[in-house]
Amino acid sequence: MPERNAASSPGGETVVNIRNLTKQYGQRLAVNNLSLEVQRGEIMGFLGPNGAGKTTTIRMMLGLIAATSGSVEILGKDIVTHRAQILPRVGALVETPALYLYMSGRDNLKAVGDALGGVPKARIDAVLEMVGLQNRQKDRVKTYSLGMKQRLGVAMALLQDPDVLVLDEPANGLDPAGIVEMRDLMHRLSAEGKTVFISSHLLSEVQQICTRVAIINLGKLVTVSSIGELTQSHGEFSVTLDRPQEALALVQSQPWGKNARLDANGALITTAPNNRGRELNLFLVKAGFAPDTLTQATQDLEEVFLRLTNGGAGGVQ
């Protein structure tokens, strides 16, 4: 698959603009010259193996750690020079939810709301309902399950009705129903024009939630692309037919079919003569292998991720 490094998507208002962002710890480059743009209303997935630099990037985006070089602009302003204006418009959940364990869920929101300039009770009620915690709002957070803490962390991020949401593993600890609810919430927020930047290890979720994904490895941007482009297998077709092994042998003997293979379901994956599906169909029919189906091949995001990140182990591409 050709490497894609188009860090921006065409059109739309750029809400997050990361330019040549670098963070160096001694000799180690945690983030290496990362450039990325996120458009308004997008749900951008941010993927990478452990230690790839995702959290470091997110922390630099939120002004928690200083970049060695490069810059981050959110809503058109540099977050270092305009942090007090910009960051209140950004809701964030970084790594595990950080909460005041000795207080109730509602008091947690009030405490953070006070610090952020005051939030009306109605807004606290609203975010508690959004994340489904209204029935446990008066219980101490230390009695919450991980999933409930995660929901409260998301509620905190939503407290000021932010324009941009930066969520690090938001589905962590959620049960399947919670994951579906989280997915719906992300879609609703996106539909309201909010921009969502999600780091996650749940690739199937990312595939369902995100409009685009950026994959980093060893601190460097490997690719940024729409989910469709990324999972599309360029120039390859998936054919289901009888006697696939025999068909495979035949196709592999053709000059255009040397890389043909069978996928896990037994479907023949191959390029086509002159890159045309019609010609592939004609060839197979003439050879006595009339296809049941012939479609453009797609790949699972997980396969793409593992290939681009050398099996997710952070190896060099």
């Binding site: 950080a98 909460l99 953070v112 009705d161």
Partner: protein, 315 residues
Amino acid sequence: MSAVITTPTTEQMQVHKATPSFFGLVRGEFFKLSRQWTTWILFVLLLGTFVLPIIVEATGADIKDRINADALHFYYNQLGITMSILRVFSGIFLLIVTARVIGLEYQLGTIRVLLSRGVGRLQLLFAKLLTVVLVALAIIALGILINYLLTILMVSAIIGNLDSLSKLTSQFWSDAWVYVWYTLLNAGVSILLATAAAVVGRSLSFGLSAALVFFPIDNFGTLIMNLAFRITHSDFWLSITAYFLGPNLNVMPTVLTSGRVDSIGATPLYLVDPQTNQAHGILVDGTQTLVVAAVYAAIFAIAAIWLTWKRDVKE
């Protein structure tokens, strides 16, 4: 995560306009402090330390004779005891509360929630400091009020009148004010010490431990230095105690009131050999104790501010 609730437009606008404010942060800190059982348990214990010595004093067999014999001396003695207890225990209370207010934010990781929403690092630190300073002022004022009222009540109950108060001189009230200022200064140094410890360690455990062992160590240090002097006969070991924080704070009220008010705790070592009349060590005065306290306070403050300002937040 059910249906999105649409808030009224005015509330939405209010939410959108809200930005972190210093006094909002202070309000938030008071809210968090008030929601901790530890705060209230410590507060009740502190009240007990204010009341207990006066109850012990009131049950003394010769108290009536002492008041009648020399009322001024009795009241100076009361001042020394009650204010020393107020100073020591309010100091411990403030060390714990300050370490919790700052250290817990690091330990729970909630500091990243606040900072990532635009709260300034120093803004947050100063808001926390102001919160603790206001708590300190409140408890010291309360402690003084309780001491004053209980002493009056005790004398009234034992003697039957408050005539002995007329024996109090303007010098007494002046010394009492010195002790009040000294107690405030002691509280300030304690707050800065706990702040620095919590910021350096970035945790409640480290901050609390370091803050609580600091004064016992430098008080105990005078014993070690005395031992070192006896072994080596070098004045250095005695002189160095003139720069210890705890001993300087302990001796401060006594030197500031020219010995009229007693205090408690180890003091900087100063020995005079009775045979040769030769002095060993440094005899500290009021200025020296104030300068030493100010230097330590400045070091604590600079360390806390610098590290808060410059260090990455990895919690």
